[in-house]
Symmetry: C2
Subunit: 396 residues, 2 copies
């Protein structure tokens, strides 16, 4: 069986994602689509607005045949680590085609990655300051004539670099985006495809009817019915501020990516009698030019989850394939590849795993539930949860 | 000037406390009353229902002339350490009389403490299990004929032992309690004195009119007007559970008084999908026969405040006299004794102190504010707060 790979967050799952899955199958002639999806937290350092099971179900309703989790230690990372973790999982599952969105789908991203590697090997990318990203793009443009500036292109470039680094073959297939730009904050009434961020914005404002045209009906129903984190900022900031008030700066200094004395600024800002009143204003208060907003937000999530440097490094060195859902095609594919899979396949989490390899995902799931106001819900995110099995009959 | 010492929590300040202050002055012929009062958390491991400044003001309205804080590292401790910390502060201020409530005010508690010391020196109190307290009381009764069983008597005995241990002279003056028993949970309409716990219970039920006869009008007004922690359990448990979900058991194991693997039971109970829904039921779920309810509650407060063994020990070895309020008499007394005070006198807290000696009180004050829903109130509990100075004119 031939599988095509997709790397996604589905935050939330919308019509553009459904199109992407169909198009990926068509373009590659694949029998099935394998999706590596961020778990309960996304790359920006925010909780996914629906939990990983809801999002798995929605993706499977729209053509995903096998969904596996991108563990939190890869999902909430700078782009290059996010890409490396996801590519590694697809490769471990024997997937040889990767289809991704791009603003410039005619570009050969592998070629671009190779040229970048050449430049890097000549030691030209040495500026690691806050202007690193733009300096890098500038040098790359000089060498290749292509300006790497759009968010999907940048992600595509990360995938190519990750594949190159892996030394394993993988076909990279860019597809052009319909209508919506990645960062678009608004969309028109007649659009059927909109960016995830513009959809989140509309949902956050309570405009459920506005998103009707751009998401599958099941996505809308799930958002209305299920616990979600549309309003995560207040509980997030309450807990974060509590931790910043009670941990010593020594403890905070051990948090992953807490660099250059940032822990002192975080503690001082949280402890100030005139501490910012909202999470957004807190981030603005601690941010410096050196860091992007997303980088700060990720560091604050690591702080909230109390993930230390050594734990993160150990986790990344010990990744796995966590099954979230599959249909008959996905199950058939799993049987075919499981013997040669190069990472352990995990279908059920017991307390032993929750305390060992999976401890960061387990913790992330518990805190997601707290942020979603799900305290006391008997069904946890991990313990005893089986992958969703979707027969033709159970498909909604 | 002759000062009489009082050790108190004033949680909240009621008519019995006012009577105690007046009676203490009368019995000893003192010119003024010096009160050592728990700060923002009380011995049971709970937040005081009004903050330390409110309670200082209320005590001064009813006859206290100088109020100093019993730091959190002594206030939230087993009885013998609570007593040692408080006695040490009174002695550091040159106070030579201590008046306290007792169910048996005719007993010579110093004599009792001396006899207990004799028995202890013979190595007879060796049973350190959960039955230690009653075994101790049993042996003491055998030796002295007096049954140490009432809560005020037990506290009085702790004061006597602390004075004995200090090697410094201090007159111990028990006074009988009016009407209310320490643990009484109810009181009649015609009572003017009721126990603090029965008052808290009535307040917690919202029965403000019921307590009108048993507290000064200012106490009632403060409870109605000011931020308080009458409903602290939900925010306390939310934050505690968050910490138990995110800290490693290794981290939890470093918390003060976390003994015999209790950290594992705490983490497992908090992480259970069927975790208890309230703080009370959580305590019951983790409690064993070996520990008293109060001991568990104190340990959970240390956990909430993230106070580690080494921090607690360092703090106790480095105590101080923190001024909360005084009137002209109190100020006169301070000038008289300040040169021979045997602990540093602190009247104003800057960031330097807040990060050093006073860091536990500073942290406790910040978390008290969080529990009281005071987040964002510009006036903190410590930084830049001056002691309340009550002239005859400002006395309410």
């Amino acid at each position: 069986m031939k599988a095509v790979g997709i790397i996604a967050e589905y935050n939330p799952f919308h019509n553009g994602h459904a199109y992407h899955i169909q198009r990926a199958k068509e373009l590659t002639g694949a029998d099935l689509a394998v999706v590596v999806m961020s778990g309960n937290f996304v790359q920006r350092g925010e909780p996914a607005i629906l939990d990983k099971w809801e999002r798995t179900q929605l993706a499977m309703n729209s053509g995903a045949d096998l969904v596996v989790e991108l563990p939190v230690f890869y999902a909430v990372q700078p782009g290059h680590l996010f890409a490396e973790g996801a590519v590694k999982i697809l490769q471990a599952l024997g997937v040889e085609d990767l289809v991704f969105g791009s603003e410039n789908p005619t570009i050969d991203f592998m070629d671009l990655a190779k040229k970048a590697a050449e430049i890097e090997s000549q030691g030209q990318f040495t500026d690691r300051s806050q202007t690193y990203a733009s300096a890098y793009a500038g040098q790359l443009e000089e060498a290749t004539g292509f300006k790497l500036e759009n968010p999907n292109d940048i992600l595509a470039f990360s995938y190519a670099k990750a594949v190159l680094k892996s030394g394993l073959p993988m076909n990279l297939v860019p597809i052009g985006r319909l209508e919506a730009g990645y960062h678009d904050q608004t969309f028109a009434e007649d659009q059927t495809i909109a960016s995830a961020s513009s959809i989140r914005l509309a949902l956050h404002k309570g405009k459920f009817d506005k998103v009707e045209n751009v998401v599958p009906a099941e996505t809308l129903a799930a958002l209305k019915d299920k616990p979600n984190t549309l309003d995560f900022e207040k509980p997030f900031y309450d807990l974060l501020r509590y931790r910043l008030l009670t941990d010593t700066v020594g403890q905070l200094g051990q948090v992953y990516q807490m660099a250059e004395g940032l822990e002192h600024r975080l503690a001082a800002t949280a402890g100030n009698p005139e501490a910012p009143q909202s999470y957004q204003s807190f981030i603005k208060a601690v941010k410096t030019k050196r860091y992007t907003f997303a980088r700060i937000q990720r560091t604050l999530l690591y702080t909230l989850l109390n993930i230390k440097v050594d734990q993160m490094q150990a986790a990344m060195a010990d990744s796995y394939i966590r099954l979230l859902g599959f249909n008959d095609l996905g199950q058939g594919y799993l049987s075919e590849v499981k013997r040669r899979a190069t990472l352990p396949i995990i279908s059920k989490v017991d307390m032993g795993l929750a305390k060992a390899n999976l401890r960061l995902d387990y913790k992330a799931g518990q805190i997601w539930q707290v942020l979603a106001g799900q305290q006391g819900v008997k069904l946890g995110q991990d313990l005893s949860r089986k992958p969703i099995y979707q027969t033709k009959e159970t498909k909604k």
